[in-house]
Symmetry: C2
Subunit: 200 residues, 2 copies
């Protein structure tokens, strides 16, 4: 029986999402699963939960800076909190949606490239020049990237992703769903792995 993919809801500006992106492909491979990448915008999710970005919260923000840097070391992932932070990610997300609609083999490479550009290399991924340069390395034309970013259907699909996330109970990012079982946070990967193996 074919197994369903791991669905990963993420925002390109979420640092814990970045860590998840760095780790999830190995996890999926170990369990013979694909990955359904679902780019969302955390702004509307925070509006629904009443939350603010972690980094901006009293006490939690200071802790999060320590925890993010240490978590990256723990997982062996290069990481630095970029400036400016956070940035708008709807253009990067729209390009991903364009690649997905085109059934492009560059879907996962785009996710990897954009997230690493921001959190490992400090490039501003809200900047179209950055997206064009990242696209060029994957063989994508700047005109194609601009067309996806301006496409009304793709704009609408990104809003649909956010609605779908809220309906699915997504309360933050990264958020994983495997066979209807929800897992919130990169720290839930060990539970998710045991769940895929043993349905404990």
């Amino acid at each position: 029986m074919p197994v369903s993919p791991i669905t990963l809801f993420f925002d390109f500006a979420s640092p814990y999402s970045y860590l998840a992106i760095r780790l999830i492909e190995d996890v999926a491979q170990r369990h013979d699963r694909g990955i359904a990448w679902v780019p969302i915008l955390l702004g509307p999710v925070f509006a629904a939960t009443g939350a603010r970005p972690l980094i901006e919260q009293p006490l939690k923000g200071e802790y999060a800076r320590i925890d993010l840097a240490r978590s990256a070391r723990y997982f062996g992932v290069p990481y630095a909190l970029p400036t400016p932070f956070p940035v708008s990610t709807h253009q990067a997300a729209r390009v991903l949606l364009g690649l997905q609609r085109a059934n492009s083999p560059q879907v996962a490479p785009w996710v990897r490239a954009v997230s690493a550009a921001y959190f490992a290399e400090g490039h501003n991924i809200a900047n179209m020049d950055t997206l064009h340069a990242l696209g060029a390395e994957l063989g994508l034309q700047a005109a194609q990237i601009d067309a996806w970013c301006a496409d009304p259907d793709i704009k609408s699909a990104l809003k649909d992703n956010v609605e779908r996330a809220l309906r699915a109970g997504v309360c933050g990012a990264p958020f994983f769903i495997v066979d209807d079982e929800p897992f919130w946070g990169v720290d839930r990967l060990p539970q998710m792995e045991r769940w895929m193996t043993a349905r404990f």
Copy 2:
């Protein structure tokens, strides 16, 4: 060189604190550390961070119910979300402070007994009868328990714990500090263990 204890800030009504209480003694033993139990009240911490109890939050509350039950299974710990939830925990915390002041050997047993009574057995730990019954099993007189609960110095010490927690950056519970390194959440125990071993 003697090592410092693991400091654990917790609220007796916090379900993730309960999981931490069930796990921390084994962790401490593996690393030849003692445990400094610091009972706090999450209400003032939530006021400082602008947070509400997890269970009451839109989306997060529903997820938390799933995650708590699954986390308990993952760790092999008996657990059921009690009714009523949450409850007032200042009396249970004051008894713990009284035991600590008396250098009683019943400090850790009291922490274990109160948290298990609430989250494994469903007893209302805001109820003095419950505390008396739990105390009786540990050889504590009801009159002694009542005296601690009414002691102005102990009442003041509990407030001091909350102030100390906020100064230390405690943004939720359970919150661990080891040699000045902060760890928030029972899901950070693996990082804390590696940190105690390797200072990564």
